[in-house]
């Protein structure tokens, strides 16, 4: 059965969005991934997004794939092709297709098309029927439905079939008996289209060469790998979406790369803690004892870690913590994305505390900043929190290859060896001998007579002795400020993209807003709105960040939370006049889009240029 209406004429070559509507637990995610990765292998930039419920089986789940020869990989809200496999969400899936777009559906059960919109192309494929006919195992009948529609798409989009088939072979290598039925299922879909669909399909994927130095990987995998390369030996964690796969990645690569060949024993220790408090406690214990250690969690975990973060700040123990953010507050939207834990992390814990934050914007940076986090944490003897999010952590991104310089050495910071201690007379753990706020550490067991001290969360003097004296306390707290200032100047520099001509306007953003921002700046430039853009990669901020704000009369701060948390950090830490900073906040749990940014900024500029007004009142917000 086939229903194809009037054909849209402007063909979309390597530039479209396809969305799969499935039921959770039916194996669709792997089939959809197969589709996305095939396009990647054809040399075309691609960004797949898995939109899944907080559930294991039976609820609606979607998979969006943006294909963009131009390299625009942020989320785009329109749908050119919908593969509508879920009866539960069918009507709204139909509604979300762009006029002139395509809708694929399973036509095994006849559908009364007269009840549905006429401005899109309907392609019915009897998927269930095909599977029942061709497979006998009921699980295979179910699972291969997904593969059949992938095969059909290969034909419709005129993709390179052999690339797809090879990919199947790669993926199932080691489980060879799965290859034949999978390839067979692909063929079923492919052939059905070849035989039954004669009408031209205006969307196509063509081999390209845009991905020379690129890989397709998710941020958590890259960050986990970064921990391996960064020399982490102790990982303590408690499972929580969307951070779980970060530790799983570390585990997987350690099992592959960190087994002592002679004994078969492990050069790493992973402890699944009983909760996040314990996980961070283990990291603190291990770091104190001279190992590189990390944990990964999400918002609820960070909240539980708050007390221990204060201990690490005040006792000055390195901590590497990955917060893969999801929708808050509380349990919130566990399977949605947000950038809403900045304040909770920057000022975590009671008392005057501040923590170093890193903001990776793609998997390559997840790798690099994971490696860097260990150096930074040890150099400044303090917690470093890397703020990624679900969008980055759990989705595959087209990103630069990971690189490693074999000359690289770990920066373990100021640590005294036995010999150092022998040659020292008046060592005090918290003595600021270098004037940079950083004292010299010793590891337990280093020396029989020297260098031992009792580390503590209570107030102490420069010699780590308990003290309730106000001057000892103030000296320590001011030194911590000094240390923070030293850190600011040493953290990853912001990334600047200058407007083609000088501009009074700037935009500041960070993390996963990156791909949408690239596109948004181009959209704005088309309207002759030129902005200088700065992507922040670390807190505390470098001078360059303040200079950027200084040099522009108005700066938009684009972020994915309700309260404009980065803006708060900027005005608070930089004493910036809030009137200058306009929040552009998107916080409905979906990734921000270029269109949203461009619309918000241009609207705001239209309104504000005549009389520049303070505008904490957000220019726009968003419910999808």
């Amino acid at each position: 059965m086939r229903v194809v209406q009037e054909v849209n004429s402007n063909s979309k070559l390597n530039e479209f969005v396809i969305k799969f509507a499935n039921v959770n637990g039916t194996g669709s995610a792997s089939a959809n991934h197969l589709f996305a990765k095939s396009i990647f292998r054809m040399g075309v930039p691609v960004s797949p997004r898995n939109i899944f419920p907080s559930n294991i089986q039976g609820l609606p789940t979607w998979y969006e794939v943006r294909v963009s020869e131009k390299g625009y990989l942020g989320r785009k809200e329109i749908v050119d092709i919908m593969v509508a496999m879920n009866p539960q969400s069918f009507q709204s899936d139909v509604d979300s297709v762009e006029p002139g777009g395509y809708l694929l559906y399973d036509s095994t059960m006849p559908l009364d098309l007269s009840k549905y919109r006429e401005d899109i192309h309907w392609i019915g494929i009897p998927i269930t029927e095909i599977c029942i006919r061709e497979f006998s195992n009921p699980k295979q009948r179910q699972l291969f439905k997904n593969i059949v529609y992938v095969g059909a798409l290969v034909a419709l989009l005129k993709m390179n079939f052999s690339i797809v088939k090879n990919l199947v072979k790669d993926q199932f290598s080691g489980k060879e008996k799965l290859i034949t039925p999978n390839v067979f299922a692909l063929e079923l879909g492919y052939q059905w289209v070849k035989e039954n669909v004669s009408v031209p399909f205006s969307i196509r994927v063509e081999q390209s060469n845009k991905l020379d130095n690129k890989i397709l990987v998710d941020g958590n995998t890259a960050a986990g790998l970064g921990c391996v390369y960064g020399g982490a030996t102790v990982a303590a964690w408690y499972p929580i979406t969307p951070s779980t796969s970060l530790v799983e990645s570390y585990d997987k690569y350690c099992e592959r790369l960190r087994i002592d060949p002679g004994s078969g024993k492990k050069k790493f220790a992973i402890v699944q803690a009983e909760d996040e408090l314990a996980a961070l406690g283990m990291v603190i214990g291990a770091s104190w004892n001279g190992a590189r250690a990390f944990t990964a969690t999400s918002g609820p975990g960070v909240s539980l870690m708050t007390e221990f973060l204060g201990l690490a700040y005040f006792a000055e123990v390195p901590v590497v913590l990955f917060n893969v953010q999801r929708g808050g507050p509380s349990t919130g939207m566990p399977t949605r994305t947000q950038q809403s834990d900045l304040l909770a992390c920057a000022y975590a814990s009671h008392g005057d505390t501040k923590h170093i934050l890193l903001f990776p914007a793609n998997p390559t940076e997840c790798f690099e900043l994971a490696v860097a986090a260990f150096d930074i944490a040890e150099r400044f003897q303090t917690p470093v929190i890397t703020l990624s999010d679900l969008e980055l952590g759990m989705n595959d991104w087209t990103t630069d290859k990971l690189e490693w310089d074999d000359e690289e050495q770990y920066d373990r910071g100021k640590v005294l060896s036995k010999d150092d201690l022998d040659s020292l007379d008046n060592w005090g753990r918290y003595n600021d001998v270098d004037g940079d706020g950083i004292g010299y550490r010793t590891y337990p067991g280093v020396h029989p007579d020297k260098g031992a001290f009792l580390i503590r969360g209570t107030s102490h003097d420069a010699f780590a002795r308990y003290s309730e004296r106000g001057d000892d306390y103030v000296e320590g707290m001011e030194r911590l400020q000094r240390k923070f200032a030293t850190a600011a100047a040493a953290l990853p520099v912001p990334v600047i993209r200058s407007a083609r001509q000088q501009s009074l306007y700037g935009v500041i953003y960070y993390g996963t807003t990156d791909p949408a921002m690239d596109e948004a700046l181009d959209l704005l430039a088309e309207k002759d709105i030129e902005l200088d853009a700065m992507r922040i990669r670390a807190f505390p901020f470098r001078e360059a960040v303040f200079a950027f704000m200084e040099h522009h009369t108005r700066v938009f701060v684009v972020e994915q939370n309700r309260d404009g948390q980065m803006r708060t950090l900027l005005i608070n830490e930089g004493d910036i006049n809030p009137a200058k900073l306009t929040s552009v906040c998107h916080f409905d749990g979906t990734p921000i889009t270029a269109q949203f940014i461009a619309d918000s900024i241009s609207l705001s500029l239209e309104e504000l240029i005549p009389s520049v007004q303070p505008s904490k009142s957000r220019v726009s917000k968003k419910g999808a």
Partner: protein, 351 residues
């Protein structure tokens, strides 16, 4: 606490151990606990035990939570590194520390509040992971540092500052540890050095989780049992003013009694502890039987002391998770970093 600074002069006649060290080498700065506090006896026992087994002080790491008991690591083994962490969370610090360096000896010091109230979860999980450490609970049945509230190990019926009887039953951490897989479970009394020191030495030698529930009277806030003594001036004074700001000097409570026998120990506030020392014939090798015996004795109102259970065959956390022999904190970049070539292969797998 005494106001007289300790002499650091090494008397020529102080006995030396195999390493040529005297007890002084295992001591710490002056204690700031109340005079007569049981916890100070525990500190002294640790000093003695470590000296006697001739362990190098810097090979020990001392850990604690928060409380009077948790302050004690400051008062012994000043050549050892120590971590005075946060309330109830020492077990996780110890787990991480041990993961990083399996070669040190970890001695954890906690209180009944620190371990059985706020820290119960972490305590149980550390036991279950068979962490190789000595875990001492300086059990005074009260929150000393916050001035005398009941903990989860306060005895049923014991009187609080206010005079109410504790209506909740005490958690028996020894029995709990047995259930959860501890491989060395003992109970002792801070004032009974002849029992406590050998137990400590055995616990340090043990590989696995060794817990010692050490009864350690708080001379200031403990129990306030309906005193059998007549007029207590101090209590009257403090009660009248509703603030316990008068803490007279007290003597350490000491006791000694033979294996297999029972002994009643009278505490400063007049309450009585019924101790029963395990007989030499007692077989501590069966966890199920040990737990059964413990509970039966408890029903009789007796507190069993001695080595309740030991199992020397069980693997510790490192064996369970199969780490290399070399402590992880001693592995360098060449051990740990797979290098650029491997990364290129990994990149391939993402294409």
């Amino acid at each position: 606490m005494s106001y007289i600074a300790k002499s650091t002069f090494h008397h020529a006649k102080l006995p030396v151990n195999e390493l040529g060290l005297t007890e002084r080498d295992y001591e710490g700065p002056l204690s700031s606990l109340c005079a007569g506090c049981g916890h100070d006896s525990i500190s002294a026992a640790i000093v003695q035990a470590c000296h006697e087994i001739s362990i190098e002080p810097h090979r020990i790491a001392k850990l604690s939570g928060i409380g009077c008991s948790s302050k004690t690591p400051n008062y012994y083994l000043q050549k050892s590194h120590g971590f005075n962490s946060v309330h109830g969370r020492m077990p996780s610090i110890a787990t991480g520390a041990n993961a990083a360096n399996k070669d040190l000896v970890y001695i954890g010091m906690s209180g009944d509040g620190d371990s059985a109230s706020i820290g119960l979860g972490q305590f149980c999980h550390a036991v279950r992971r068979k962490l190789n450490m000595v875990y001492i609970i300086a059990n005074n049945g009260t929150y000393g540092l916050t001035k005398g509230q009941n903990s989860a190990m306060t005895d049923f019926g014991s009187k609080s500052k206010k005079g109410d009887e504790n209506p909740f039953e005490a958690i028996d951490v020894a029995n709990l540890a047995l259930q959860l897989g501890a491989t060395f479970v003992a109970r002792s009394f801070s004032g009974d050095k002849s029992q406590f020191v050998p137990l400590l030495k055995a616990a340090i030698a043990h590989r696995g989780f060794a817990v010692i529930d050490c009864l350690s009277p708080c001379v200031t806030f403990n129990n306030h049992a309906g005193s059998t003594k007549s007029y207590d001036f101090v209590r009257d004074h403090n009660e009248a003013l509703n603030r316990a700001d008068f803490v007279p000097m007290k003597e350490e409570i000491v006791t000694q009694y033979a294996p297999g026998s029972s002994k009643e120990v009278c505490l400063h506030d007049g309450s009585v502890l019924h101790l029963h020392k395990l007989a030499d014939e007692y077989d501590p090798s069966d966890a199920v039987e040990a737990s059964y015996y413990l509970q039966k004795k408890q029903r009789e109102g007796k507190v069993l002391t001695g080595l309740i259970y030991v199992n020397t065959d069980s693997p510790d956390l490192h064996e369970i998770i199969n780490t290399v022999d070399k402590p992880l904190n001693q592995l360098g970049i060449t051990d740990l970093c797979p290098g650029s070539k491997t990364l290129q292969n990994i990149n391939e797998s993402f294409c």
